[in-house]
Amino acid sequence: MEPEVRLLDENKRRLDGRAVDELRPIKIEAGVLNRADGSAYLEWGGNKVLAAVYGPREAHPRHRQDPARALVQCRYNMAAFSVSDRKRPGPDRRSVEISKVVSEALGHVVFKEQFPRTSVDVFIEVLQAEAGTRCAGLTAAAVAMADAGIPMRDLVVSCAAGKADGTLLLDLGKEEDNLGEADLPVAIVPRTGEIVLLQMDGHLTPEELETSLKSAIDACHKIYEIQKDALRRRYAVTTEHGGAPPPPKEPETEADTPPTTEEPKPEEVEAPEPVVPETQEGE
């Protein structure tokens, strides 16, 4: 005897006022921790997640080392106070599984061959949870890895789609996740569209699955822009004038006709075409 709960009103608006294909608000900040090599803080609806990256550093225990490449090892953890009923601290089966699939997804983009025998250690801490924490954690972890300067092909970005109240929905909220019919977390490499994480539980027809997968992928591309923006803000050049990026010193139009009254800058003096190496190579 399931209680009758309506998750959508007659205009297909959701409990929190979102449209069916609308994401919750997302905010990402890169470089928020001191000791970690890279870090990121992410808010996604009611989710608050921190990610930190250490490495590449020597892999421990040593028998786990791979002589040919780096390991990417992720630990997903939920704080005891992150959910309404206190969660027993420490890894449970759910977090072990999430750690595994997130490690595999992140591992796909790292140039692992450059760092044999090492480990890139990724720590995801869910401080406050409200459905979709694995997607939030993975999205934050990718930013933290970029912040740590780990050589990567691209970021990884994640979002879930699903079904609740008989309707396909993007980015399920808390009630939609608890009472819904299906959940489909997806992670992609945006530049290639490769799918690196895919889980599903619930009940979807093959057609619904295809539609949901498509909408999760579309949303990933939007979140990718938020990730890149966080990294840009972190690494934007600041000046003593108060943090604004410096004005462009040499507009591109002037580069072709340097002003004759000024001394040419040192870089411009060194600019003759390097023809010498070309001719030497012929020998």
């Binding site: 089966r93 595994k100 699939v101 290639t192 539980d201 009940h203 093959p206 997968l213 498509k214 992928i217």
Partner: protein
Amino acid sequence: MAVKVVSELTRNHIHRLAADGKRVDGRGPDEYRPLKIEKGFVGSAEGSARVHLGKTEVLVGIKMDFGEPYADSPNKGVLITAAELIPMASPDFEAGPPREKAIELARVVDRGIRQTKTVDLEKLCIEPGEKVWLLFMDMHILDYDGNLFDACSYGVLGGLSNTIVPASRLEAEDYPLEIQHQPLSVTAAKIGNAIFLDPSLQEEQVADARLTVATDENGDVRAMQKGLNGSFTFDEIKEIVDRARKAGGELRKQIVG
């Protein structure tokens, strides 16, 4: 688990074959290894099934006991799934508490059973809020030659289908457990650009990515899990779901009969 080293010769050989759509043991891309299910192998369990999938062998035991329900579902029985990768099954398995591979295996199999509502948990309620049946599904891996997800999924379904609820402990008649749906897991491995169902151990070791899809008897999708470092394209996912539905239909006949 220590890093498994696969010789370059083997790896290249499997990849070269895969580029022509061929497999190292001569199977077709969607061809399963011979499946043998022996139900009721363990007399001390309420239900059981011993599964041979090629050279992979697993034994699934179903045990039932009573206990308290979860606070948020006072009128439902409880499903508990566990997998043990015991050291006799492979030189790569170590003794000790379940590690991530065993946990993922148990959780993916559990998801297929749970999401398909294979067992009506409300019928496992004895006294709401007080006493319900606990249904334990334990998977014992005896010999590991690849594709544990599917072998265990078939074992659990086979085991459940011959489970007798020991109601005589409650001064009632024992009765067979009712199976409402038949979820069937189909696992695909991607090797280069080729996608093969029911990967053997050799194929798993060189595979780039893995996808397990559980479908019900209507061909609807109930659970999925992607694994390994590689990736799938959107079209590959669609194709695997399609192939999984077809293969699942064939396999279901063999398991439930």
